[in-house]
Structure formats: structure tokens, C-alpha cells
Symmetry: C2
Subunit: 149 residues, 2 copies
């Protein structure tokens, strides 16, 4: 499933104006409340959500605070596409910190995903079908080799 | 879902006696056929399977051959539990090479999993519930702190 199919929640923050990047704006704790609500929704209805961290008025200090509060869980994954994506489960299972990089390695977008497993980690049936064709071809080549030798 | 809940397929190999560990036994190509069949089953019925590589008469050379044939796909994940598990998607999406290590870092078991996403990467609802309690506690502590300051 493409990322844009996941409903993105906009969290209303206490302030939209941030001066100093090194200080806490007070917005990060608001996010914890939102993450807890989205986790409750996941458990109640199975519905996944994502919070676009770049769309929020968060300072680097806010992001550091949030990262420390959520911690690093048991699962960490990378996906190599046009740029690398990292998907790290936090100490709260079902809450994932997802960072997408562009081809130059710069952070292109950053999300908190609340889901049992991020869609990006799932193989799409169309891709599985293409992979199977590749496998069948490989097997066919092996058979031809053994016939010809 | 625990790993033992995944049906494990036993592949009948051409030979059960392997002498030299450095040579190909001829069993690895047989496995490719089995993987293709399991991938077809995944697409047709959604049913996941696993092949226990340690239960098969495969030489290290066989495993190397198989690893090269299946290649490295876009997704790679690690799970840190009592030992580390690595879950690497092959170039055939839906076919995963899964290695479990014990606490000393030695390989404890090795599987080919044929599944859209390995169960180990999914957060279990019970764990999500425990994580939510942790989050609620954290939020409660923050509220108390802001009241007391």
C-alpha cells in the first residue's frame, strides 16, 4: 500500500510560531496524547494512522525529546528504494518512527506510524507475482543447464 | 504469532548423506522448486509457509548457492529479543531469509519464510496494550510534573 493511502492526522499544536530550535516548544507532549489516542483506536478498530512530523511546528529539541520518550523497541527495519527508509518500532509496540531519505541521504519526511506493522514492510501481491516469474525463470534456466551438460 | 504456529514444510531431498561441506549436494535447486510452489500457494490462498533450513541435508556451499540465487531484496529487519533475529527479504518479494541467533550470537535456526510479512515483524495486540499502558503512565507523570512545578 502506498504511504499516501494511510490517513495522516494533523495535530493541533499549542503554538505555530517557534523561535529557538534548541528549546522545547511544549508541542511534543501534546503529540504523546495524540499517539496514545491513535494506539487506542488501533486496538479498538484495527485502524492504522500516521502523524506527519514535518507538518508540525516541532523544534529539533522537541524531536529529540519525543524520540527519547518513545525509545527504541525490538524491531528495526530498513527499506532500500530510491532513498533509504528506516522503520523503528518504539518501546510502545505498534508505534513506529519512520524516516524517509532522498537519494542524497537527506531526510525527506518523517512520520510516527501507529500500526501493527507498517505497510512498507509488507510485500505487495503484484511484486510477489513478479518475483515468482523471476524464480520460475531461474528454475527453467537451471533445468536447461542440466539438460545441456 | 509464535514461530511454531507457522506450518513448516519438510522438503524431500535427493540425498540424505552429505560428505564434503564445501561442495554442492544438488539439494539447493530442489529447494527453489519448493519455494516457487509455496509462493504460488501464498498468492492463491494467502497461506504462509516456512522451510527449516537446518532440518535439511544442505552443505554450507548449498546455503551460499541458495543465498546468491535468492539475492538481497529491498527490506532488511532485525529483532532484538533474547538473541538477534535477522529477517531479509530476497529479490523475490514475499520470500524471506530468516536467521535466529542465540544469546551468544551463534545461529540457532534458519528458515526461508514465504509470507507477505513475517509474523515476527508484527506487533501483537497484547504487547500494544502493554505499550499503551506505559504511554498513559508517561503522560500522567508529565501532567503531575507540570502541576507540581
Amino acid at each position: 500500500m502506498p504511504l499516501d493511502a494511510i490517513p495522516v492526522v494533523v495535530v493541533h499544536s499549542a503554538t505555530n510560531q517557534i523561535g529557538d530550535n534548541a528549546v522545547l516548544s511544549g508541542n511534543a507532549p501534546v503529540l504523546l496524547h495524540e499517539i496514545a489516542e491513535l494506539t487506542r483506536k488501533l486496538l479498538d478498530s484495527g485502524e492504522s494512522s500516521a502523524i506527519d512530523l514535518r507538518a508540525l511546528p516541532l523544534t529539533p529539541a522537541d524531536l529529540d525529546w519525543l524520540r527519547e520518550a518513545l525509545g527504541q523497541g525490538q524491531v528495526a527495519a530498513t527499506l532500500e528504494a530510491e532513498g533509504e527508509s528506516t522503520l523503528s518500532e518504539t518501546i510502545c509496540p505498534g508505534v513506529w518512527w519512520v524516516t524517509h531519505h532522498n537519494e542524497n541521504g537527506a531526510v525527506a519526511s518523517e512520520f510516527i506510524e501507529v500500526t501493527f506493522v507498517p505497510e512498507l514492510l509488507k510485500a505487495h501481491p503484484d511484486d510477489v507475482r513478479i518475483g515468482l516469474e523471476h524464480l520460475d525463470l531461474l528454475i527453467s534456466d537451471l533445468s536447461n543447464d542440466s539438460v545441456s551438460t
